[in-house]
Structure formats: structure tokens, C-alpha cells
């Protein structure tokens, strides 16, 4: 193993310990790791944005010798308008690119969300409740009842009282059971991440695990 590889392993090990030391309490090592992590990552993203956005999506496209594009200039104009914030006199111009981003996003995503989050879900819920094996029937009833009661919980125009409130309560039970299952699943995946770091510390760094 060369010097630089060994150096990299030591650095990674020290950073891992530094970040994990936060579990005990805030300390100098954690503060140092945090500052280095934030500084390095901010610099890294600056470089990524420079090459991916300014260079690839703007410079290369507008200077293409065969087919130069004009529309990347629109993005540049909006970007320059953002910088007008630095001036008190014309700072109000920076609201235009923000309005453009927010409005364009809302418009673009409206139909996507409407189809994927509403129409497809409704279609998936329209299932026969008395067909297939006993397991299929129970599963279909649970899907239909859970979706219906869940929708009632998210109905904001009526107070959750009486039968309506009861259905909403069933809806929140469905949600909580789902959250519980999801919690357990995710915690297990986080455990595997932790095992990965411990394996690194005791295996590659200390070489206690063969």
C-alpha cells in the first residue's frame, strides 16, 4: 500500500471518528471536521456548477462552431438579474428570475403530479373486492379502505367529528402503521451504513478484521 493510499485511509478514519464523536458531545474535533466538510463541499459544488452549468450549458452551447444556440443567454440574463440584489437601487429586479423559477416549476409539475399522484392512484384503487384468493381479497379491501379513509383525513373542508371523524381516525391509523413499517425498514438500512463504517475502521484502518 502506497503512502498516499495509507494517508487517505488515515484521513477518512479520523474524519469518521471526528463526526461520530458528536454522539458524545460537541467537541473540537467535531468542529474541525464540520468546518472542513462544509468548506470542502461548498468549494466542490462551486466547481461542479461552474463546469456543468456555466461551461457545458452556456459557454459550449453559445460558442458551438456548427450550431451555436441563443437560448442559454436567457438563463444568463435571469442569472444577472439575480445579482442585482447587490444594488439597493435596482435590487427589485432580482424578483423576476425568482418569479420565473417558481412559476415555471409550478406549471411544469402541475400535470405530472396530477397524473402520478392522483389519477394513477385512483386507478390503482379500483379493484374487485371479491376476486382471487382470501389473501387477495383482504389485500384489496385494505387498499380500498386505507385509501378512502386516508383521503378523508386529508379533507380540510369539514371538521373531523362523528362518522367522518371516525373514518379520519382509521385513516391516520393506516398512515401510522405504514410509517412504522417504513421506520423499521429505514433504520435497518442505516444500521448497514453504520456497519460499513465500523468495518472500515476495524478492517481497512486498524486491520483487526482480516
Amino acid at each position: 500500500m502506497g503512502f498516499w493510499e495509507q494517508f487517505g485511509i488515515w484521513l477518512a478514519a479520523l474524519f469518521t471518528i471526528g463526526i461520530i464523536s458528536f454522539l458524545y458531545k460537541d467537541n473540537v474535533l467535531y468542529k474541525a471536521c464540520e468546518a472542513i466538510f462544509v468548506g470542502v463541499s461548498a468549494g466542490y459544488w462551486f466547481v461542479v456548477y461552474y463546469w456543468d452549468m456555466l461551461y457545458k450549458k452556456f459557454y459550449q452551447q453559445v460558442t458551438d462552431p456548427v450550431n451555436p444556440e441563443w437560448y442559454p443567454w436567457l438563463g444568463v440574463i435571469l442569472g444577472v438579474l439575480m445579482l442585482t440584489r447587490l444594488s439597493n437601487k435596482i435590487g427589485w429586479l432580482s424578483r423576476w428570475p425568482l418569479a420565473f423559477v417558481v412559476g415555471a416549476t409550478a406549471g411544469l409539475y402541475m400535470m405530472v403530479y396530477f397524473v402520478s399522484n392522483a389519477i394513477v392512484q385512483i386507478q390503482g384503487t379500483i379493484v374487485p373486492l371479491a376476486e382471487g384468493t382470501a389473501g387477495d381479497i383482504i389485500a384489496n379491501i385494505l387498499v380500498a379502505a386505507g385509501t378512502f379513509c386516508g383521503l378523508i383525513y386529508f379533507f380540510f373542508s369539514k371538521e373531523h367529528r362523528g362518522a367522518f371523524g371516525g373514518a379520519a381516525k382509521i385513516g391516520i391509523w393506516f398512515l401510522m402503521i405504514t410509517f412504522g413499517a417504513s421506520f423499521g425498514y429505514t433504520v435497518m438500512s442505516r444500521m448497514s451504513l453504520m456497519i460499513g463504517r465500523i468495518d472500515f475502521l476495524f478492517g481497512r484502518w486498524l486491520e483487526l478484521i482480516p
Binding site: F37, V38, W45, S94, M111, T147, L151, F156
Partner: protein, 406 residues
């Protein structure tokens, strides 16, 4: 020896006889100029303009060659523009299917094209007849998505109707959302303790609807903060969010009549890197010890780390996200959680803005339609599967087509 040669010749003659007889019976096998047996060409070439596109696609379908899949290498698709010559545009491998199809998306709108398909084997290449000429046309409306238009009109029409109703001064009822009731109490607690309020707007940019909802709630929170003369701290991971949040808080301080109390560093950029941001926010939490932590927006793996740290420092915590995978962590570690659409409802509820209230009420109409469709559709499908009633068959087909996304 002579007998042997005669026998051999007889065998060849008989073999040739049977080969020719078989060819005559099937009437399809052809022999090229050098005596190779050519594969039988595909038939029934159907060429049509692709439905509901911008005119740049033509669909081609054909029946397999009788020699498919054994003994052929594949199909060549030839295209001719107008009266021009044919040229190869694609090659399709044989798969033993009864029929094949190909989507040619390299055609010019308004131009007419003819196609023919050839089948290739070791024996050579056989061509089908040329297809009829087909032109790629542009259709403005995709009638396959008419149902989405109708549903969209119902929901958007309801939203617009309710917005006008709210603007006309009619009070629109929205039920209480418990997490929001606690918002003022949480800000008040921070004021009493003399500690800041930490607002985390998630880690996505302004192009995410959850971040937009978080910024709307921020407007209300910062207004209360300005009224109470408390302090808000907002580390962000996106530069556009920083700019928008500064604008929002500035407006709130202005509306509260305290523009002098506003300063830009209330909102500060940390880094775009997810865990770099989390490390920094954790550091801020344990050092500044905010009395109230608000996590509203789009969160990923950092949700539990942040909420656990907030819990550790004893802050009152209110979270809200529409990401189902992160909600369990907020539910487990925070005092109040806005689940999914409650986050979007919260911004309308807090702002009291007619546009947002109307939008929320309109969405409720959409939910009502969804619930009604689910009940009717499920009943119809169940009855049809059990008793085959004609009317319910029609009804279930209607429901399926109403909510199909083809």
C-alpha cells in the same frame, strides 16, 4: 461402381424432385441467381401516421416471415421519402413473434414516406411489397388524454371558483391543523427563553413545491417573530432559497413595522452538500441551542439526524414534509408533524390568502371526486366480477377509462 453412381444420381434427382415439389406446394420459396434459397418475405405491411404526435413519427407493423425465427437473421426496414429511393433506416432482430412493429421517429412533419421490409438470411435478402405512402401529420390535441383534461377542468375550475368566492369576501372553512396551532406557542416560548428559532426549509431548491410551501409558512413565522421581537436563524443549502427567504423575511419585518430589526444574516448559505449541511446545522443546534426548531420542506436521510439533535437540546419541534419515507422519523422525534398535504394546507391556513384558500378548497373538491370514483368504480368492478351485470360492466369500463393514463 456404375451401380453406385446410378444410385447416387437417382438420389439427387429424387431429392431435387422433392425440393421443387415442396417449393411448388408452398409457392413461396425463391431461388436467387446463384442458386441460394431466399427466405420468404414478410407480409401485411401496415404503415400509419402515429396518433396524437407532432408529425415526426410513423408506425410500421408487419407479419413475420414464414421462415421466422429459424433460418433468418432479421428484418431490414427501408424507407423512401416521396418518390425517392429506398434506404435502410433500421434493423430488427427476429423474436419468433407473429407480428412486429417499429416506430420511426426520424421523419419530417408534412413529408410522405413509403416503407418496405426485407428479411435477411444466409441465403440472401427478400423484399416485401412497398407500402402505401403515409404522411406524418401534427395533431394539436391528444384525444387519448381527454379524460385528464376533463378531470383537470373539474379540479382547476373548482379552484378558480373558490378563489373568486374567497375574494368576494365569503369565509371559507378550513379545519384546524394541530401542528399550526402550536406554531405561535413555539415562537412565544423561544421569545420567553431568549433563544432563537431555527427554521430549516429542507434541502431542495425553489423548484420543489415543498420548499415553496415552507417559504409561505416562513412568511407567517417571521411575522410572529418580528411582532414578538424574537430572533430567527435559517441556514440553507441552496442559493435561490437563501434569496427567496431573505425577501420573505424582509417583507414580514416590513409588514410588522420593524424593518430596522431585519438583517440579511438571518438567512445564510452553508453548502449544497447534503451531509455537510447537516453537520453544520447540528453544530448550530448544539451551540446556539434554539428553543424552537421548524423543519418544513423536502427532507431526505438528514431528517432523523436533525430531529434527534433537536430532541437532544430540548427544543420544541414542528416538522412538515410530503416525503413519505421521512415522515416516520419526524413523527417519532418531533412534537408536531404536518403530514403530506397538511404542509400545503398549512401555508393556506396561515396566510389566509384567498388564492391559497381557494386552491385548498378546490383540491378538496378533487378529493371528493376521487373518493366518489373509488366507491363507484370498486363497487362496479366487484359486481361485474361476481355477477357479470351489463350495466356495471359499462360503469367499470367508464371508471377505468376516466382514470386511465395511456
Amino acid at each position: 461402381m456404375i451401380f453406385g453412381k446410378s444410385l447416387y444420381c437417382s438420389f439427387i434427382i429424387i431429392a431435387c424432385f422433392f425440393t421443387v415439389a415442396t417449393a411448388q406446394n408452398e409457392a413461396v420459396a425463391t431461388v436467387d441467381s446463384v442458386g441460394q434459397i431466399l427466405p420468404q418475405p414478410p407480409g401485411n405491411i401496415i404503415v400509419a401516421d402515429h396518433k396524437y404526435d407532432n408529425g415526426g413519427i410513423i408506425d410500421i407493423a408487419w407479419d413475420r416471415s414464414p421462415d421466422d425465427p429459424l433460418g433468418i437473421d432479421g428484418y431490414n426496414i427501408y424507407r423512401a421519402c416521396g418518390d425517392g429511393d429506398f434506404e435502410i433506416v433500421a434493423f430488427v432482430l427476429p423474436g419468433g413473434m407473429e407480428s412486429y412493429s417499429f416506430i420511426d421517429d426520424k421523419v419530417e412533419r408534412g413529408e410522405s414516406y413509403r416503407y418496405k421490409i426485407s428479411v435477411i438470411s444466409s441465403g440472401g435478402e427478400s423484399f416485401s411489397e412497398s407500402s402505401v405512402s403515409v404522411r406524418g401529420d401534427w395533431e394539436f390535441f391528444d384525444l387519448d388524454k381527454l379524460n385528464i383534461l376533463i378531470l383537470g377542468i373539474i379540479v382547476c375550475g373548482s379552484v378558480i371558483g373558490f378563489i373568486f368566492t374567497a375574494r368576494a369576501g365569503r369565509k371559507l372553512f378550513i379545519r384546524k391543523i394541530s401542528g399550526l396551532e402550536a406554531l405561535e406557542e413555539a415562537v412565544g416560548r423561544a421569545t420567553e427563553m431568549g433563544r432563537p428559532i431555527l427554521f430549516i426549509p429542507g434541502i431542495l431548491d425553489m423548484d420543489d413545491v415543498q420548499t415553496l410551501a415552507a417559504i409561505t409558512i416562513l412568511a407567517r413565522v417571521s411575522r410572529i417573530v418580528a411582532d414578538y421581537d424574537s430572533k430567527i436563524e435559517m441556514p440553507v443549502s441552496r442559493s435561490l432559497v437563501m434569496t427567496t427567504a431573505r425577501e420573505t423575511i424582509k417583507n414580514s419585518y416590513l409588514a410588522a413595522g420593524r424593518p430596522d430589526a431585519y438583517y440579511d444574516d438571518m438567512v445564510h448559505y452553508v453548502t449544497d452538500e447534503q451531509f455537510g449541511y447537516v453537520a453544520a446545522v447540528n453544530g448550530i443546534m448544539v451551540r446556539d441551542k434554539p428553543a424552537t426548531c421548524l423543519y418544513l420542506g423536502a427532507f431526505f436521510a438528514e431528517s432523523l439526524i436533525l430531529a434527534e439533535t433537536g430532541n437532544y437540546i430540548g427544543a420544541i419541534q414542528i416538522a412538515g414534509t410530503a416525503r413519505p419515507g421521512q415522515l416516520p422519523f419526524f413523527v417519532a422525534a418531533c412534537d408536531y408533524t404536518l403530514i403530506g398535504e397538511e404542509l400545503f394546507a398549512a401555508s393556506a391556513y396561515l396566510s389566509g390568502d384567498p388564492k391559497q384558500l381557494g386552491s385548498l378548497k378546490g383540491q378538496d373538491v378533487g378529493k371528493f371526486v376521487a373518493m366518489a370514483a373509488m366507491i363507484i368504480g370498486t363497487l362496479a368492478v366487484t359486481v361485474v366480477s361476481a355477477w357479470q351485470f351489463k350495466f356495471f360492466g359499462w360503469l367499470s369500463d367508464l371508471m377505468y377509462s376516466m382514470f386511465s393514463t395511456n
